[in-house]
């Protein structure tokens, strides 16, 4: 992610260079990550795009293909990365990620432990939050997924902030070397209660913990286990509702008897003979309504603070 390296950060003067990771924006729901390479091309439904055309242009530019189609080139951010990364597992999305980072009180300099790494969606945002002096130690029991995650962090330029380990946290707990050093712990495991005693040892006093579980039974069991060494235990669910816009030309045609009708946008009516033409006025308005399709559930977020015992 460019910002975290002050020598590379985006600015009016910073142009796209050979080797940059960029996000190709085709449509709001179609994006992909591409590494800029002098001799490469990008091929999609809009045509063929030469990477060399992009070099020297500012980020946020519109670029054209040989057929005249276009895409936009954006600088990568953790939010965009979450939307383009390859899903090896189910991932967390922006609503849960933002809330977790805030509620865990992750700030620059923090040491954060995470398990499981999964596809690294949350990990990327945690890295952003602890930069430049903190660190994220993330663990996954699946060796191949851990390797893929490591590759991703190299690609996005955050590997100096993240260390990926292969370890089964549920059965082995976190490594002893972190005892009493963690500011925050995040758990996304099938049986998080097995990892909670270890998390307790890792955390500083008043340190924060979060467990993400899709099922309420998991939440109940986790909360029971948390009660002995943790306080301020709170469980939430968070969702984002999207809105869509429409331009609504209200046709204030007046009938002869003085009453008027507003015509909604999709109906095409011929003005009836009763309408007096001279008094047509249309005032475009923008109206918004919630999207018809929305996510109903991702998971429950349970937060807690490690008790002070001294």
């Amino acid at each position: 992610m460019l910002l975290m390296d002050s020598s590379k950060k985006i600015s009016f003067n910073r142009c796209i260079r050979d080797g940059d990771l960029v996000i190709i924006y085709e449509r709001h729901d179609t994006m992909k990550a591409v590494k800029v390479c002098e001799n490469s091309v990008l091929q999609n439904r809009f045509g063929i795009f030469k990477h060399s055309d992009w070099i020297g242009k500012p980020f946020g530019s519109k670029v054209f293909s040989n057929k005249g189609g276009f895409v936009y080139i954006l600088a990568p951010t953790p939010e965009l990365w979450t939307l383009v990364l390859s899903h090896r597992t189910q991932i967390l999305y922006i609503a849960d990620i933002s809330f977790v980072v805030m509620y865990l009180e992750v700030v620059p300099g923090c040491l954060v432990l995470e398990s499981g790494t999964g596809s690294g969606s949350l990990t990327t945002s945690l890295a952003r939050a602890v930069a430049p002096t903190g660190h994220v130690y993330t663990f996954d029991f699946h060796e191949q997924r851990a390797a893929s995650a490591r590759e991703d962090f190299e690609r996005t330029g955050i590997s100096n902030l993240v260390t990926v380990g292969v370890r089964d946290i549920q059965s082995e707990g976190f490594p002893d070397e972190f005892s009493g050093l963690a500011d925050s712990v995040f758990l996304d495991l099938p049986q998080p209660w097995l990892a909670i005693p270890s998390a307790r040892n890792m955390l500083k006093q008043d340190g924060t913990l979060c467990s993400f579980s899709p099922c309420i039974e998991q939440v109940q069991r986790s909360c029971e286990t948390l009660r002995s060494d943790f306080t301020d235990i709170r469980t939430f669910e968070i969702l984002l509702r999207m809105y869509e816009l429409r331009e609504w030309k209200i046709d204030h045609s007046k009938f002869e008897d003085g009453s008027s009708i507003a015509y909604p946008p999709c109906k095409r009516r011929q003005p009836s003979s009763e309408v007096s033409v001279g008094e047509n006025t249309s005032s475009p308005a923008v109206v918004a309504r919630p999207s018809a399709e929305t996510r109903g559930h991702t998971g429950y977020l349970t937060f807690a603070r490690r008790k002070c015992d001294s």
Binding site: E79, M102, Y103, P108, R241, A288
Partner: protein, 453 residues
Amino acid sequence: MSESKPESGPVINPRVTCEGCSVLLDINDGDRLVFARLSAGSTLKIGNKTYSLQPLIGCPFGSLFQVESGKEKPYLSRFVPPTEENNVQDEGGSQLQEESRDNRAIIDNNQAQTLTGEDIDAMRRQGATGNEIVEALIANSATFDKKTQFSQEKYRLKKQKKYAPRVLLRRPFCRSICEAYFKKYPARIGFLRVDALSLLLSMANVTANSDALVVDMVGGLVTGAVAERLGGTGSVCSTYLGGTPYPIEIIRMFNFSDEICKRILRCSFNDLCSVQIETGEQVSQHEDDCTMESQSNEKTSLSIGTEDVHLSSNNGDTDLVPENKLSSSSKTCKAPKAGEKAPKEAIQSWKENGFSSLIIAAPEQDAWGLVKDFLPLLTYSAPFAIYHQYLQPLATCMHNLQLEKMAIGLQISEPWLREYQVLPSRTHPCMQMSGTGGYILSGTRMHTNISQP
């Protein structure tokens, strides 16, 4: 696995209180939230008694204090809750299946308790602790044994809160400050809920080394939140239209280090734009010319440290703002230098490079009017997030941004947050819920090509 020993970064926000630091006091498990500044003379009122906050100095955040009867008067004493309390609940869990009691025979006629108020006062004078009083009340309640397990727990908790109140010492952090204000004075922060605030920070990609531009009309909460994420790098410019900066006194509750404070800067919109074509010398000339505006700016920004305290105490809300005893003790404790007028070098740098994030939290203003002015100051491909209480201004703003082709990836979203009560056999969403946390318009600034290939 890492070879080297893990290092934690420099201490940004220490975990132990000190003289002069800002704290958040949580009374009776969230019933009441009070911000205070710890000093030898600061006090806290619970019920009709006043307690000194001195015992809290030097304690770790997260410590719990309970009211104890002292030789002269009651005081706050640090205590660690015994784990037996939790065992009671666990036992309760296993006995649930045998619960045969219910409340069919319990009549609520206020005659179940035989201890009178005078009896309790007498107990207090004899030095009974709060917990002893609670036990006495339970013993003297005719209906206690008839209650269900859950009902008994509820009763005990209620009495404990009244006769043995507890105070939890909490670190003021973005999350706790936002929650406290949202609960108590939501209008002052434009009903910006903690999840909406967290989304603003993510969507605007606020991180170390960012140069963030913030239009903060929510008391400084957003400026403080951004500064917290910057952690002493980058900069946050709290800007404003016209001649008077918007009040941002909430930033003083964050316990920011000097390094963070000096990166919180103020600059009017005019100043941000006017430096464009001028060199260093010409800039100072220009500033001399605009004497009225710059003088009033400087006056307001310099007086933040002391005047704000009087302003807020006039509002009568000594609860949420550092108590006005600060004015006398401010000489002894560090006066934060946050909110200084931005120096010319900073303004120049912002002009040359552009800001890397834009957050607008002006819940009573027209969004498009602000975006039109401030978006051009944002660098290309930089994200922005606009918070508003109402949907319509954001709809209009998004529409205009589309027409003017100023941004892509535009999206209006509304966060929905629900809390759960999780207890054995009693798990369900909480009865109360926030109805709205506002709306957010987010997007990325485009670079418009003048020439096409």
